[in-house]
């Protein structure tokens, strides 16, 4: 049986309850979800807000691929991911991942797989705006500075 899944972007606050409901299925006894939240600091700098931008046509296609891979690989019944774009305040949900399956094990594995792959593979960029008025694109500016690059495991090939 092939599972069903979707990947989407949202320009408004992520509606967790609706996403969760869409994965409900009487055959499923396990549901696992992950939420990525906007944190108030990164690498020692105080973050005031974030800005997400994506190359949507490619990101959507690649996102759908990741969901399909998770369904095929772990045999979950349903999986979904929604990623925010635009301006986000501290505490908001930046990304939501959910998977439902007959049993919990597969659901956990699929959710973990999806968030890890989304972070690595999708053309999505994050600009941090700091309390001190500075700003920077994560992995392009802050992480490319000599002070931090030695220890920084670049997620990019």
């Amino acid at each position: 049986m092939g599972g069903a899944g979707t990947f989407r972007f949202s320009h408004a606050a992520i509606e967790v309850e609706a996403l969760r409901r869409a994965l409900a299925d009487p055959r499923c006894g396990g549901f696992a979800s992950f939420e990525g939240w906007v944190r108030d600091s990164n690498e020692g700098a105080q973050v005031r807000r974030l800005e997400y931008e994506a190359f949507e046509p490619l990101a959507l296609r690649e996102g759908e691929r990741i969901i399909r891979e998770a369904i095929e690989r772990f045999g979950v019944s349903h999986a979904a991911c929604e990623h925010r774009l635009g301006d986000l305040a501290v505490g908001e949900i930046a990304v939501w991942v959910g998977a439902s399956a007959p049993h919990r094990h597969e659901a956990f594995l699929a959710a973990r797989y999806i968030i890890d792959e989304v972070k690595q593979r999708l053309p999505i960029w994050k600009k941090e705006h700091y309390v001190n008025g500075d700003s920077g694109w994560v992995n392009c500016e802050r992480c490319a500075t000599p002070a931090s690059d030695a220890a920084h495991a670049h997620p990019h090939r």
């Binding site: 931008e53 190359f55 490619l58 296609r61 989304v118 972070k119 994050k126 694109w137 990019h156």
Partner: protein, 280 residues
Amino acid sequence: MSAPLYGLVLSGGHSSRMGEDKAALAYAGHTQLERAMALLGARVERAWVSVREDQQADPLRGQFAQIADRRRDLGPMAGILAAQETHPQAAWLVLACDLPLLDEATLVQLVAARAPEAVATAYRSSHDGLPEPLCAIYEPRSHALLEEYVRAGRNCPRKFLIEAGARLLDEPNPRALDNVNTPNEYGAASDALAGRNMREPKHLTVQYFALLREQAGRREEALESAAGTPQELYQELRQRYPFTLGSDVLRVAVNSEFADWTTPLRTGDTVVFIPPVAGG
């Protein structure tokens, strides 16, 4: 005496990266399946198209004699095994359906150099030196070994040829076995067949995101460029904009699909340079 040589074009793939049936892609007015069958038909006693069960009614494939897969989820192995089961006495020249640059010389040499005493005869890839399993001749004695291989839960025909010690030849034309999996590769192969020149000026659209958007001061532009590849295009753009990111940390997309830095660019292409990502 060597076994009679029959031919098989594998058309049962899912073409998932291409997004449309690779057998039906047209080059110079003929579908790839028709081109492959014409090339192959001239070199073997009889030729068939290998299909999945659910493709038997397809009109393109219906023009030819067919052999349907008997097993699922084995990829090309399913087609080779079904052909061997249908005519066990024959040797099979097996061809993939996504080799638009395949030429007559490559098939002629393969047939001439066939080693009936070996399990199989194949070309050594001009890219990585490994056997090319889908332009190769499988002798009748390969059947039992293939069966055993599949029973062991394996289905990679390349690894099979490596382990079985196939006779390997050098390719007379190093691009003849370049396969086409994406729309960009289809475009490049069409250009190569038409002899189009990469150096011609072309109309390109470049879209900028994130740091590159800020440094270019724009989201998108249309330009005329003689750059033959994304690599050359990025060098050209760096003359114009204060880009701080080297191409070693960027990836590139052509027409909304990830592409190689050396993909030939064609007029009308949209190119995006992808800075290090930070989703999630």
